[in-house]
Symmetry: C2
Subunit: 597 residues, 2 copies
C-alpha cells in the first residue's frame, strides 16, 4: 500500500516564509485566511486526501470505469462516496465566489489542496477539477441568468462539468472544429457533432453533467474565428432549476488508456442536443483562452503531485530495502545488507526529485497567488503585473513541471527495481498516470511555442523584462550574503544562458520563425531551470532566516539547503546544453526532407 503525507508544513513555509502571504491580507477572501485558519484548512484538506482519496487510487486503476450498453458510465467502486465527501466538505467550491455558494477563499489555497488531492488520486481529482474548469468559464462569460441556474449546483458538487474541445481530426488545431450549432426559435441551439478525449464526460458521481461545448454556428466564418461556446447539460434544467428531461448527448464509448483509469475519458456524441450560447457568438475560443491559465496551472500541479507521491514512496522504500553494502563499508552491520539509501546513485535519484518538488511547489503557489492578485487586487498596476507574470510563466510551468514530474515518476520507479515494474507497489501507476499531463491541455510542444511565439514578444517583451529584472535583483542581493552566494552563483550561470538565449531568439527568430520552433522546447526548459533556481534562492534565504531564528529547526532547514545546493550543482548545468542546442538554429532540423525520415 503506497504511503502519502500531504506536505502541509512545506506549503505553510512556502506561503508564509517564502512568498509573504500575509502581505495580501487586504485582498478579498484573504482576510479569512489567517495563519491559523490557513493551517487548519490545509490540515483538513490533507486529511481527506490521505484518508479517503488515497485508498481508492490503486483499486480505481485496476477496476477502471465501465460503460453500460445504454451509455451510462460507472466510476470505480468507492468514487461516488468519496466524491460526496469531497463535495460536502466544500472542497470543490473552496475558492468559488461566495455569492454562488463558494467559500471565496484564495485560489492559492485551492491550488495547494489540488496538489494533495492529485497526489492521492489523480484520476479522481479530475472529476472535481473539470467541474471547476467549467465553473471558471461560466463565471467569466455566462449571463447572470446562466450563472444563477448552473453555478450553485456545480459549486456544491451536485452537478459536474466538462470541457468539450477535441474532435477526431483536431486537437491542437481547433480551427478545424466541425461540430455544428443551429439556432432555434427560442434562442437556444441544436448541437450536433462528435467530441473525443472528454475527461469525466460521463459518470455516476453527480446527478447532472454540464458540458461546455465548442461548436460552429451555421454560417460562421471558417477557422478559429467562427467557433462559439455552448452549455449543453446532460439533463435539461426544468422550470425549477432542477435536472429534467434527458438531452441528446451521450457517451459513445470510453477510451482504453495508458493510465488515469479511474477517470472516464469519453467519446461524446451530440445528436440534436439542446445547447445555450455562452458569451458572444464566434468568440468561443476566446472564452476558453481566458480560463486557460488556471486549467494549465492545474495540469502543472499534476506534474508536481505525481513527482511528490512517487518521491515519498521511493524514500520509504530506499530506507527499508536491504541490498548490498555501502561503497565505504557496511553501515547496518547488524543486518544482512545495508538499506539502499546508502548508495550515492540512489541518493542522486532521490535528490533529483526532492530538488525539484519544493521549488516546483513554490512556483505553483506563486503562480496561483499571481492569479489571485490579478483577479482580486484593487490596484490596477498590481493586477497587470501579476497577470503579465502569470501569463509568461504558465507555459513554463505546464511544460516543465509535467515533463520533469513524469521523469521523476520513472526515477522513483527505478529505485524499486523489479518491484517498481509490477503493480503491487503502485509505482508503475504513477508513471502511467503522470504521462497524460504532458499531453492534454495543450501538448508540451504547444506550451513551448506559446512561450517563444506569444508570451515573449507580447507587449514588446514587457512581461519577460519585468521577470528578468526580478531574477537579476534576487541574484544581486544574494551575492552579497556569504551563505547564499554559492546558490546565487549557480543561478547566475543558468540566468546568463537564458538571457543569451532570449537575445538569440530576438536576433534570429523574427526573420526565420523556424528558428523559434526549433528552439522552443529547449528554451522552455531553460526558462524552467532558471525559474526553479530562482525559487531555490528564495527558499534558501527563508530557510537561513528560520534556522538562525530557531535552532530547533536547523536540521530541517539544512536539508533544504543541501537540496538547493544539489540543484545548482547537478541540475542547473543542463542550462549550458539547452543554450548550445538553441544556438544551432533550425537549419539541420529543416534540412531533412519529409520523405527521408
Amino acid at each position: 500500500m503506497p504511503v502519502y503525507r500531504a506536505p502541509v508544513e512545506n506549503v505553510l513555509f512556502l506561503l508564509q516564509d517564502v512568498l509573504g502571504f500575509e502581505r495580501y491580507a487586504h485582498l478579498p477572501g484573504f482576510e479569512d485566511a489567517s495563519p491559523d485558519m490557513l493551517s487548519a484548512i490545509l490540515e483538513e484538506g490533507g486529511r481527506i486526501c490521505e484518508d479517503i482519496l488515497l485508498p481508492l487510487n490503486m483499486s480505481g486503476d485496476r477496476e477502471g470505469c465501465r460503460r453500460a450498453p445504454d451509455g451510462t458510465v460507472t466510476a470505480p467502486k468507492g468514487f461516488k462516496a468519496a466524491y460526496d465527501a469531497f463535495a460536502q466538505g466544500g472542497w470543490i467550491g473552496l475558492a468559488a465566489p461566495a455569492e454562488y455558494g463558494g467559500q471565496g477563499l484564495p485560489y492559492t489555497l485551492a491550488a495547494a489542496i489540488n496538489e494533495f488531492a492529485t497526489s492521492a488520486n489523480m484520476a479522481f481529482s479530475l472529476y472535481p477539477g473539470l467541474t471547476r474548469g467549467a465553473q471558471a468559464a461560466l463565471i467569466e462569460h455566462a449571463s447572470e441568468e446562466q450563472k444563477a441556474l448552473y453555478l450553485p449546483k456545480m459549486i456544491s458538487g451536485e452537478w459536474a462539468g466538462t470541457m468539450n474541445l477535441t474532435e477526431p481530426h483536431c486537437g491542437t488545431d481547433l480551427g478545424l472544429i466541425k461540430s455544428r450549432a443551429v439556432r432555434k426559435a427560442d434562442g437556444s441551439f441544436t448541437i450536433t457533432g462528435q467530441k473525443i478525449f472528454i475527461s469525466a464526460g460521463e459518470h455516476d458521481l453527480a446527478s447532472n453533467i454540464i458540458h461546455l461545448v465548442l461548436a460552429r454556428i451555421e454560417g460562421a466564418p471558417a477557422g478559429t474565428k467562427g467557433i462559439s461556446l455552448f452549455i449543453v447539460p446532460k439533463y435539461l434544467p426544468d422550470g425549477q432549476g432542477n435536472a429534467g428531461a434527458r438531452n441528446g448527448v451521450s457517451c459513445g464509448s470510453i477510451e482504453h488508456k495508458m493510465g488515469i483509469h479511474g477517470n472516464a475519458t469519453c467519446v461524446m456524441n451530440y445528436d440534436d442536443a439542446t445547447g445555450w450560447l455562452v458569451g458572444e457568438e464566434n468568440r468561443g475560443l476566446n472564452a476558453m483562452f481566458v480560463m486557460m491559465n488556471e486549467a494549465r496551472l492545474g495540469v502543472a500541479v499534476q506534474g508536481l503531485s505525481m513527482s511528490e507521491i512517487a518521491y515519498q514512496n521511493a524514500v520509504a522504500y530506499a530506507r527499508e530495502r536491504l541490498q548490498g553494502r555501502a561503497l565505504t563499508g557496511a553501515k547496518a552491520t547488524d543486518k544482512p545488507a545495508d538499506p539502499i539509501i546508502v548508495h550515492p546513485d540512489v541518493r542522486r535519484m532521490l535528490l533529483e526529485m526532492r530538488a525539484f518538488n519544493e521549488p516546483a511547489r513554490a512556483l505553483i503557489l506563486w503562480a496561483a497567488l499571481q492569479s489571485d492578485i490579478a483577479h482580486r487586487s484593487p490596484d490596477a498596476d498590481e493586477r497587470l503585473a501579476a497577470d503579465d507574470a502569470l501569463s509568461l510563466l504558465i507555459p513554463v510551468l505546464k511544460g516543465v513541471l509535467t515533463d520533469v514530474g513524469f521523469d521523476n515518476t520513472v526515477k522513483a520507479q527505478q529505485v524499486f527495481g523489479g518491484h517498481g515494474y509490477v503493480g503491487e507497489w503502485g509505482m508503475e501507476q504513477y508513471v502511467r498516470d503522470a504521462r497524460i499531463a504532458m499531453i492534454y491541455e495543450g501538448a508540451n510542444g504547444i506550451q513551448a511555442l506559446d512561450l517563444v511565439g506569444r508570451k515573449l514578444p507580447k507587449d514588446n517583451g514587457r512581461a519577460v523584462m519585468a521577470w528578468f529584472k526580478q531574477v537579476g535583483q534576487a541574484i544581486k542581493e544574494a551575492e552579497g550574503e556569504a551563505e547564499l552566494a554559492p546558490l546565487a552563483s549557480g543561478l547566475k550561470g543558468g540566468f546568463d544562458h537564458l538571457q543569451k538565449a532570449t537575445m538569440w531568439l530576438m536576433q534570429n527568430a523574427l526573420a526565420k520563425p523556424d528558428n523559434a520552433g526549433a528552439a522552443s522546447n529547449d528554451y522552455m526548459h531553460l526558462f524552467g531551470l532558471v525559474a526553479l533556481g530562482h525559487m531555490w534562492l528564495a527558499i534558501a534565504k527563508a530557510a537561513l532566516a528560520r534556522k538562525h531564528a530557531d535552532a530547533s529547526q536547523a536540521a530541517e532547514m539544512d536539508a533544504k539547503l543541501i537540496a538547493g545546493r544539489f540543484y545548482m550543482e547537478r541540475i542547473m548545468p543542463e542550462a549550458g546544453a539547452r543554450y548550445a542546442r538553441i544556438a544551432t538554429g533550425a537549419e539541420t532540423i529543416m534540412a531533412m526532407p519529409a520523405e527521408a525520415f
Copy 2:
C-alpha cells in the same frame, strides 16, 4: 495497426560498409555468411517478424498470460503457433553450435534478427531469448552429457529455458540467496526455495522448460561464494532423453506488470525439486557472469528495438496527421492543414530518435561482432582485444540504450498527442514494454557501477585506454577530411569531456569510492554519448564513400549525414552537463542524512 519494416538495408550497410564484416570471413560460421546469404537471411528473418510476430503484439498485450489454478500458464492467443514457426525456421538456434543442431552462423546475425523480433513483439521475443540465455550457460559450463541431453531440444525450440536468480529479498545482491540444494545419493540435488520475477517461467509454448537455478548447497560459504547453478527441468528427462515425470517446480503466481503482458513473469516455487549441478560447486555466480555479456547485450537491443518501432510509427503519423500550418506559411495548401512533420519541434523529436537508432544499431552489431571474434578468432591477441572492448562497452550499451530507448518511446508517443495515450495506436504499449529493460538484467544504476567500479580499472585500464586510442585516431583521421571535420569536431568536444571525466575519476574515486558512485550514472551516459558519436563518424565516412561512388544513393546518404550533424549539434552538448555533474563529486549527495529525505 502499428507499422513496422525490419531495417534490413540498414543492417547490411552497417555490417558491410561501416564494420567491414567481410574481413571476418575466416572465422568459423562466417564463411556461410556471404553477402547474398547475409541479405537473404536478414530478409527472411525480417519477414517472419513483420508477418507473424507483429500482428500478435497488441493482442498479446491486451490478453496477457493466464495462470490456471493447477499452476499451468497459457500464453496469449497465437503465441504457440508463432513460436512453432519461429523455432521451425531455425531462428532460435541461428548462432548455436552445429554439433547440437544449431546453424552455427555468426552471433552478429542473431543480434540483428533479435532486434527485428523485439521491435515486432518484445513480450514474445523474450521466450526464445530466455531459452538462448540458458543454452549459452549450458554451452559454457555443462558437462558433455548434460549438453547432449538438453542442448539439441533447446536449440530446436522443443524445450524452452529460463534463468532463476531473483528472490523476494534479493535482486541485485545475489549473495543473499536463500534457495537450498541438498545432495542426494545419486549425485543429483533436492532444490527448495522461491524465485520471483522469472520471465517465461511457465508457459505452453514448449513441451518442457529447463530452469537454470541459483541455490546454496548446504554447508556452502555465506555470500556470493557459496552459490551454485543447477538444471531443474519442469519434466524430468526419462531414460530416452524425453520429457518424463513432473518435477517439483511450479508457478505460484504470475505478476501483474506495467508491460510485456504477453510474457509470463512468474513466481516459481521449488518444493523438493530434483536438480543437477552445472559446472563447479559454489561457482554458480561465475557461470552466470560468463553469459552476462550476451544477456545484457540482448537487453540493450530491446532499447533500440522499442525506439525503432516507436520511431517508424511516429514518422508515419507525422506525415499523415494534419494539424496547424507551418510557421513559414501553409505547405499543403490543398488541405485544411499541414501534416505535422512541417513543425520544427516535431522534427526535433523525430530526429532525436533517428540520430540515436542508427548508431545504436551500429554499436549493437559492433558489440556482437566483438563477441564473435572473442569466441571464434584463432588469434589470441585478437580474442583478448575483442573481449576487452566488449566487456568495457557492455554496461554502456545496456544502460544507455535502454534509458534512451525508453525516452524515445515517450517522445514517439508525444508525437501522437492524445492518440498516443490511448491503446488504439499502440504507442503507449511501447512505453510500457520498454520500461522493463532499464530494470532487469542488472538495473541501470548497477551497469553504471560496473562501468566505473570494475570495467574502467580492470587490468590497469587496458580496455579503456585501447578504446580511447581508437576514438582518438578516428577523430584525427576525420579532422583532415573537409566533409567529416564538423562531425569530428563535435565528437572531439564530447571525447574531451569523457577524458577529463575519466581523469577526474582516477584522481578522486580511489580514495573516496562515493565519488565513483555519485559520478557513475553521468559517466555511463557521457561514455554512451561518445560511443554513439564515434559510430556516427564511421557511418558518415561510409555514407560519403557510397554517395561519391553511386550518385543514385545520394539522397539516402545525405539523410544519414543530416542525422549525424543533428547528433553533434543537439545531442552531444549534453556531454558538458554530464561532466559538470561528475566533477561536483559526492559531497552534497552524501551530506543529506537518510532521515532528512
